[in-house]
Point group: C2
Chain length 491, copies 2
């Protein structure tokens, strides 16, 4: 029997999958193991690999294979697999090589300079570099738009969150303007007497022991993954061997601990993607927002429950703070406090940081604003949402994030989409799973099973909307997130 | 100016170098970091990479580029660079794909079965698998011979030790038949009252601290490398980022310690290969024998000197054995004792293990003996050299090594060639460097400088014979090794 075009495509994408494996592991090594002196050779090796992978996507026969495969008789999952291969292929080949190169150079230059400029609050030095990145990102958005028939910003979103649009984001996010600042104030009043834990001194090895215990409790599969240290925590590696990282702070155990929970959420999604589709795009995670929904489900929906904190309290007492009380731990992890820095934000103020960035990047790509307008818009929205001024404070304002320095416009919304999906999943799960029972019984299997059945095992076999509809009975409804915040923080 | 063919070749080999970087790092990860469950995906990814690299060697234009480059006006180092590129290219492309595949399958099968069969002393089960490997290796040797005009076994040697031949090995090795068994007896008589250290209990972390101190003393560059743990110690990674490994035994610190010294010798060679030729074959290590000469120079010529052991004694006392005396340490490390297992052998009996293997594999490839003859020949030679019988004891006899299971015939001689080169280098170095002074002064720079000037910085810019001649005034002369053994062990 002749090989079908669909089979040819799956073989070819399997090869790409294997090369991406190398990319993931070598990238992890760079962040966790590599001595500094190895960086130049490593960067060259990774560039060579990127070229090799790009050449695989550019194989000239692919055009014909996709056309012919579309005529073949495929079952529903194969059809979806074909759709996802085509989407990945288009994403990887859509831009002219010169633009990719120009954006890469401008992005590297801007990101590199930013590390120093941010420290020095040097907006004037940063501005021309960012302008170059924005110019190229607009060009990218226009090309992606013309190739896909989408609007420019939607075409950027499509890389991270397929089918999400500016129009939907406006509907999902902008209403927060009406209720979020008020909720933050209410919660602050409600928590007036709450205290966060004071800095202490905590052994990294002890923090790691607790982290590993919690990973085990959360079902992390240590036969297919590991925990290490990096400056910026991430979930990397491959589905068969997931590498999560954390950073232990000597005066605060709580960030690393909750960071490990967060990355474990990402990891369990990866570890439980559908086996039979492992090497194909359709077997990979649905979107950045859905990925973030899993990390935030573990971190926010699960681990910040008082009953969960109660479960891990004995481990913390044994290894880190002998006298720690549940009240102290709950107040520490649930305390809401407006602050300048997104990555330090609590669950309630975090969406304000995203709402702000979303509106700025949306308007930046459309041309409604220019780079020069960013600091003022940032300051106005920070004042409006969080009552904080960033006038003149670029370091803790519009220069705090790495995302825009290399032109990753369209990524920020995923964080709050993830929080919204997570709340909706929890609301739905509660209908059939006794979550408190599972937590208190020390066996989270019923929770994992729901997530596995409804999210993890689906890979990209369904569109995001269909995935969410099958799991919860409706597409994304931001009401669940609002209710979650009100229930948790005002009751 | 048009790109020369020589430049085209260097660009192409640079790309291959970058891909080999990925191979080295991902291979290191597999041996040191990867959880077991990641192995299947990892093997697939590494296969894909091997195919990618093979395709790069098979680029059809290379034929023409090599022919045209040979006509270009190149300086001497460029001519040598061209020679080395051509040698690497020929090595990588000489065999028909079907034979490579057949040998890989037979080798994997034999090696895999061997792990269990060795444990069970199951020669009858192992034999047919090894026969298959030998048949394919003979075929390989014949093809390599016909492509290069060499004799079959020489063509296998050429992969590890270019320009070495069976004829030279016979001259270098066979005379040991006359003096080695006798020397071993004499040394044993001389050392009659010597004791090895008794097993103790040693913390892995303490062993590591001492290991790191010794690496620093030996000049290991931690900005371009690291030390980790693996089941089988090795020196891996890339010249810019050398990854050495060890295995800490809880009852014996001495093996890991000397293993670290050995791997540090390999590592310093790699770390100090010529910068300007880094990405090309001519910038890589000269041969397996020369590589081993560097590890054995550090381990045998340097670290087993009583003055060196005296230097590290305080660290051992502080971290591991408070009461340790220099005499105990010297006797432990210099004690000569015939034993069955090559990798456990001391400096004096080790060449006997190699001499035995050399004669067997030489005759196996020529067809003078068959697989069935191996156990008897092994037993006879073991009795002759070391006074030990392996009759019926395959596990500690001809089934002890991994090398033949995957058809790496021609590799074993490198170990003893390395020991011979190391002794000759030491004899020559002593003419201009006060080695005892350097060791006792705690600064090994004069020793490193000699090695760097004469060996490391030369990469493959000279043939092995020319390298040795320039460094020592003559080509390999086995007399130095014999004298070294007599001087060290009978005085």
């Amino acid at each position: 029997m002749a090989t079908s075009f669909y089979q040819k495509l799956t073989e070819h994408f399997k090869s790409i999958y294997h090369l991406q494996h190398l990319q993931a592991i070598v990238g992890w090594d760079q962040a966790t193991q590599m001595p500094a002196g190895g960086n130049e050779a490593r960067s060259n090796a990774l560039s060579e690999l990127a070229i090799t992978i790009h050449q695989a996507y550019k194989l000239s026969a692919l055009d014909e294979w996709f056309d012919c495969a579309a005529e073949e008789s495929l079952d529903i999952p194969q059809q979806q697999s074909l759709t996802e291969m085509r989407h990945q292929w288009q994403q990887a080949t859509m831009l002219p090589a010169e633009l990719v190169r120009a954006k890469s150079i401008a992005g590297n230059r801007c990101e590199h300079a930013w590390r120093e400029q941010r420290r020095n609050n040097n907006w004037e030095g940063f501005k021309p570099l960012l302008k170059e990145v924005v110019t190229l990102s607009r060009e990218e958005a226009n090309i992606r738009a013309s190739m896909t028939g989408m609007l420019p910003y939607d075409a950027l979103l499509d890389q991270y969150e397929p089918e999400m649009t500016q129009q939907r984001l406006d509907q999902l996010f902008l209403p927060m303007n009406q209720w979020l600042p008020e909720l933050i104030s209410e919660v602050q009043a409600h928590q007036k007497s709450w205290q966060r834990l004071k800095p202490g001194h905590y052994d990294a090895a002890a923090q790691k022991r607790v982290g590993l215990k919690i990973m085990e409790y959360l079902g992390f599969d240590f036969n297919h993954g590991r925990l290490d240290v990096s400056v910026h925590p991430f979930c990397g590696g491959v589905a068969e061997d997931v590498r999560i990282t954390t950073r232990y702070e000597s005066d605060d155990f709580s960030r690393s601990l909750m960071g490990i929970v967060h990355e474990t959420g990402h990891a369990r999604y990866e570890q439980n993607l559908p086996q039979q589709w492992r090497t194909l795009p359709v077997g990979q995670a649905r979107s950045m927002g859905i990925h973030e929904s899993q990390s935030l489900f573990f971190e926010m929906q699960l681990a910040k429950q008082p009953s969960f904190l109660q479960q891990i309290l004995p481990w913390l007492r044994e290894e880190l703070v002998p006298e720690l009380s549940l009240t102290q731990l709950c107040q520490h992890y649930l305390k809401v406090e407006p602050s300048y820095i997104r990555i330090d934000a609590d669950e309630v103020t975090y969406p304000a940081h995203i709402l702000l960035r979303y509106q700025i990047e949306r308007d930046l790509i459309s041309g409604a604003i220019e780079v020069d307008d960013i600091p003022q818009m940032w300051d106005e929205l920070m004042q409006k949402y969080l009552g904080l001024s960033t006038a003149g404070n670029y370091r803790d304002g519009c220069m705090q994030d790495i995302h825009w320095t290399d032109g990753s416009f369209g990524y920020f919304p995923s964080y709050t989409l993830g929080a919204m999906y997570a709340a909706q999943f929890m609301a739905s799960m509660q209908k059939t799973v006794n979550i408190e029972n599972a937590i208190q019984g020390g066996d989270l299997t019923p929770i994992s099973t729901w997530l596995s059945d409804n999210i993890w095992s689906k890979g990209s076999l369904l569109t995001t909307d269909e995935l969410v509809r099958q799991a919860t009975g409706e597409t994304l409804n931001p009401q669940y997130f609002r209710e979650h915040l009100r229930n948790r923080y005002l009751n």
